[in-house]
């Protein structure tokens, strides 16, 4: 009797403790809740992390967010079904605890975690998944995720199997289908459905709405938004991940995003200890920060080549009749492979690495960077810079030189053109200036024209009123499927000649075939050999002249534990649920 009384007292005590925990540090495990155990060093609870954003997030609505600051905040507040682990670059279970693929590669059945709850305490189940994909696939919502979810020209269909299982059906086999789910945030049906039915989601989840209107499955939830100053997130007490010791994640109590409008200002705030984590900054600023690395309480990491590739390309569009005639005239040079080869041979890639990136970059000759080890074609040649070779190529293509060294084509026209760059990107303008100097040694007159980014993109993709441009692209994923838009001749970002009805050149049609084929091939080795061939075509035909891939540079205060930056976006905060402060 006494023993029973004792155990009852124990029970009461335990309940009291667990209640205390729920106030201080989340809720105790509920019956049937399947928590995911995250690997990584054990941390301790509490504290807050301060991070600078380049601008205010435009929205916290995952279906509408296009800008990086919005996505950075949303990532902390939401979760996906299958996640790409930024450390290993492989997929791992997230809200889906397991999945299987039908033999034909067209059906994916995902089993969802039981007992998971949104940050407002409402339970999560298959209906939320169905609702989320309904939103993302709705053409009226016009979400950027929709493009990803259209496979083989048809949108993915989503079928509810039971409350904790969902089946996705694809129109054709799709090599990297499970990677598609990464970063597709699951939305709370109980909060958004009425708004969605009433007229789309455009009004939902703007920053001005009260925090109680938001709920997500991410490690943090909205606490406060102060216009022009900051967004504050607090820990989600219902989060479904735990560390190896069984402690519920996240460790941090708060994450504060400050709005600091320029890179230089962000560097200064980080240097003075106002912010804890810094990513997306230039090699020059890396050098500035490095000088005080030992003195101040922060450390810097150079992760080596990322997935960004910077390149020069020429206007090879079929110009409409109203296009400026001088551009059409110059296209005769741009479309001559020997001209592009000569330009490529004349550019001092090592010089760009040294002058623009202080050595923190890698010269490249095709679109896959050394950071992408799974897909890099090692056989691509890396010819050294040779003005001599460039001159021979130009000569062979009918160019010649006047007595003052200026290059002229076979009709006697002076070879001069302009290179567009984005004025907001100091590195690319610098690259263009170096290219200008390199090409002047071949007798070409080149002008660098920095334009506001949107004005530049409008010229590149819509009006085609430009001659050449220096641009950079960053893949969202290491897998080639994320590059479909760039290499398919019908693609929107097939930069040198976008949205072709049918491929303009034989090598573009070969590239189309290879890209389509790798998309439906499930075997990695076969896909690799297909994509290797795409890289070869890029290196041989030079539709874009790849120049350099900058290293991923990050910094963090020493007191931040579990800081494991990665080369995929978001470089520094991908494991924010495991970050802790010492």
């Amino acid at each position: 009797m006494g023993r029973i009384g004792l155990s009852r007292a124990y029970l009461v005590l335990l309940v009291a403790i667990s209640c205390a925990c729920s106030v201080a540090h989340g809720l105790a495990l509920q019956a049937g809740e399947e928590r995911m155990i995250a690997d990584g060093a054990l941390g301790h609870a509490g504290g807050r992390l301060v991070i600078a954003l380049r601008s205010e997030p435009k929205t916290l609505n995952p279906a509408l967010a296009l800008d990086e600051p919005s996505r950075d905040v949303i990532r902390c507040m939401t979760a996906d079904l299958i996640h790409i682990n930024r450390g290993s670059l492989k997929t791992e279970p997230s809200l889906a605890k397991s999945w299987n693929v039908s033999r034909d590669g067209r059906q994916y059945t995902l089993r969802l975690r039981h007992g998971v709850r949104f940050s407002d305490g409402e339970p999560f189940n298959a209906d939320d998944v169905i609702f989320s994909f309904q939103v993302y696939l709705d053409e009226k919502v016009d979400s950027s995720q929709r493009d990803l979810l259209v496979v083989g020209g048809k949108p993915i269909t989503v079928v509810k199997v039971d409350d904790y299982a969902v089946r996705f059906e694809l129109a054709q086999p799709y090599a990297a289908a499970e990677r598609l789910f990464d970063s597709i945030a699951i939305l709370p049906r109980h909060l958004l459905q009425s708004g969605y039915r009433a007229g789309g989601l455009a009004q939902e989840w703007s920053l001005s709405m009260p925090p109680s209107e938001f709920a997500g499955l991410g490690p943090f939830r909205l606490k406060e938004y102060v216009a022009g100053q900051r967004v504050v997130l607090e820990r989600n007490p219902y989060y479904w991940k735990a560390d190896r010791a069984g402690n519920q994640l996240p460790y941090l109590n708060e994450v504060v995003f400050l709005f600091v409008p320029s890179e230089d200002a962000q560097v200064i705030r980080f240097q003075s200890g106002d912010t804890d984590v810094l990513s997306r900054f230039s090699a020059e600023n890396f050098a500035v920060l490095q000088k005080q690395q030992g003195v101040k309480g922060y450390h810097l990491d150079d992760l080596g080549a990322g997935l960004e590739y910077n390149f020069l390309f020429f206007n090879m569009n079929d110009l409409a009749a109203n296009a400026p005639p001088e551009i059409a005239k110059k296209q005769a040079w741009f479309q001559d492979l020997r001209f592009r080869q000569a330009v490529s041979a004349a550019i001092d890639r090592e010089g760009i690495v040294r002058l623009v990136y202080s050595g923190r970059a890698t010269p490249i000759w095709d679109q896959v960077t050394p950071g992408n080890k799974l897909w890099l074609d090692e056989k691509i040649a890396h010819p050294a810079r040779s003005l001599e070779h460039a001159r021979q190529l130009l000569q062979a293509a009918g160019f010649s030189w006047k007595s003052d060294g200026a290059l002229i084509d076979s009709h006697g026209n002076l070879v001069d053109f302009s290179i567009l760059t984005s004025s907001s990107n100091a590195q690319r303008t610098k690259i263009a200036t170096i290219v200008q100097d390199d090409l002047s040694q071949l007798g070409m007159t080149v002008q660098v024209v920095p334009l506001e980014f949107r004005a530049m993109v409008d010229r590149l993709l819509n009006t085609h009123n430009y001659e050449a441009a220096v641009m950079g692209l960053v893949s969202g994923d290491a897998d080639p499927t994320s590059e479909m838009n760039v290499w398919l001749s019908s693609g929107e970002t097939h930069l040198w000649h976008p949205r072709q009805e049918k491929p303009a050149t034989p090598w573009e049609s070969e590239m189309d075939r290879l890209m389509e084929q790798q998309l439906v091939t499930l075997d990695y080795a076969k896909r690799k050999s297909l994509y290797d061939r795409v890289q070869e075509i890029v290196a041989e035909e030079l539709p874009v002249i790849c120049l350099v891939s900058p290293n991923i540079l990050v910094g963090a205060a020493n007191r931040v534990g579990n800081f494991r930056p990665a080369i995929l976006v978001p470089y520094a905060l991908w494991n924010i649920e495991q970050l802790y402060v010492q």
């Binding site: 230089d264 560097v267 200064i268 230039s282 020059e284 600023n285 050098a287 500035v288 001092d348 010089g351 040294r354 002058l355 202080s358 050595g359 302009s418 567009l420 004025s423 100091a426 610098k430 200036t433 170096i434 200008q436 100097d437 002047s440 002008q447 660098v448 024209v449 920095p450 334009l451 004005a455 009123n465 430009y466």
Partner: protein, 344 residues
């Protein structure tokens, strides 16, 4: 009286000498303004020595050679073994005198592979000193032409307004005030955006001048209107009018000569202002493009925190501009004092 004259004379001599150096920048600059040394970005000013590592004294000043041509980052490190004397009248990169004659002779220089960066090098390894001199060609010329342009416009409008008065005066002066009140910077951005992509450096230069000159006419016009207004009421002018002199004769013979000193003072005051205006416009990306140097372009790299905090020699162009402007203002000051003491 004499001291003001002396002050003016000195100022004119200094300005003339400086203009001469800038005009013949090709000769005075050791390198071409666009020549990049990619091994040496942001190199500190080259040390000039008289005493070598062994303690031997050299009559010719000398610099140390680069330590290792291959390692770019070690730009500041110099090899104390290799000595390169600074030589006079060396042959180097070709340049043009007055746009016609080609020459290769530079006033001073060192043999390759050594480099003489008197004011350090910029992010592309280009010699800042050479770029400062070449940049002066654009900036000073732009300042001078724009000043003459705006003062000429000023004398026409101010003269007409002051002399004729009435509704013409109102129209011109209210128009001038409107000009002063316009938000020019935003208009300039709009103008630059509307221009075609491909405009040559000369067109940009002309644009800069005409923009500065056209915007600036209102202030001198107001000043000159006042001078003309008081000049036309002077007794000898009234007397001449009484004898039946025509307006054109009166303006030419009696009124405009009285504005002469004010005009000169205005131009001397406006030149440095317009040089600074060019600096501002280029700083904002409205000036001449790479690789052409102008003083504004030289200073615009200071926008970056990394440059600002790491490379003190990038400030040198700004420091050199200060004494130059002081001389300009001294000249304007002396002119004004002289003008006061000239009996009208």
């Amino acid at each position: 009286m004499l001291t003001q004259r002396k002050k003016l004379a000195w100022a004119v001599v200094v300005l003339a000498a400086f203009s001469c150096v800038v005009l013949f920048a090709g000769f005075f600059a050791p390198y071409d303004f666009a020549a990049q040394d990619r091994e040496q970005p942001f190199a500190a000013p080259t040390g000039i020595h008289f005493v070598d590592a062994r303690g031997a004294v050299h009559i010719r000043p000398f610099v140390y050679g680069p330590r290792d041509a291959g390692s770019g980052a070690a730009s500041a490190a110099a090899d104390s073994e290799q000595i390169f004397a600074i030589r006079w009248f060396v042959r180097g990169s070709p340049y043009k005198i007055a746009g016609v004659f080609t020459s290769r002779v530079h006033l001073f220089g060192v043999e390759k592979p050594a480099r003489l960066f008197l004011m350090g090098s910029d992010g592309y390894g280009r010699d800042q000193f050479s770029r400062f001199l070449y940049g002066g060609q654009i900036s000073l010329l732009a300042g001078l032409i724009a000043a003459v342009l705006s003062v000429s416009l000023g004398i026409v409008t101010g003269g007409v307004a002051g002399y004729y008065g009435g509704w013409i005066d109102d129209l011109l002066m209210r128009g001038g005030e409107l000009f002063l009140a316009l938000p020019w910077l935003y208009l300039l951005f709009a103008v630059r955006a509307a221009l075609p992509l491909h405009i040559s450096q000369w067109q940009v230069f002309l644009l800069l001048i005409s923009v500065m000159g056209l915007i600036g006419w209102a202030r001198p016009a107001r000043l000159l209107r006042g001078v003309v207004l008081s000049a036309k009421e002077r007794n000898f002018v009234l007397a001449a009018r009484g004898f039946g002199a025509s307006d054109a004769y009166l303006l030419r013979r009696h009124v405009l000569p009285q504005t002469y000193a004010v005009l000169l003072t205005q131009i001397t005051l406006l030149v440095p202002q317009y040089v600074l205006a060019e600096v501002t416009l280029t700083f904002l990306g409205l000036g001449v493009g790479e690789p052409m140097p102008s003083w504004g372009a030289l200073l615009s790299s200071l926008q970056q925190y990394s440059v600002l905090s790491s490379y003190w020699w990038m400030f040198l162009p700004a420091l050199l501009m200060i004494p130059l402007f002081v001389v300009f203002y001294a000249a304007a000051d002396a002119l004004q004092e002289l003008h006061k003491s000239v009996p009208l």
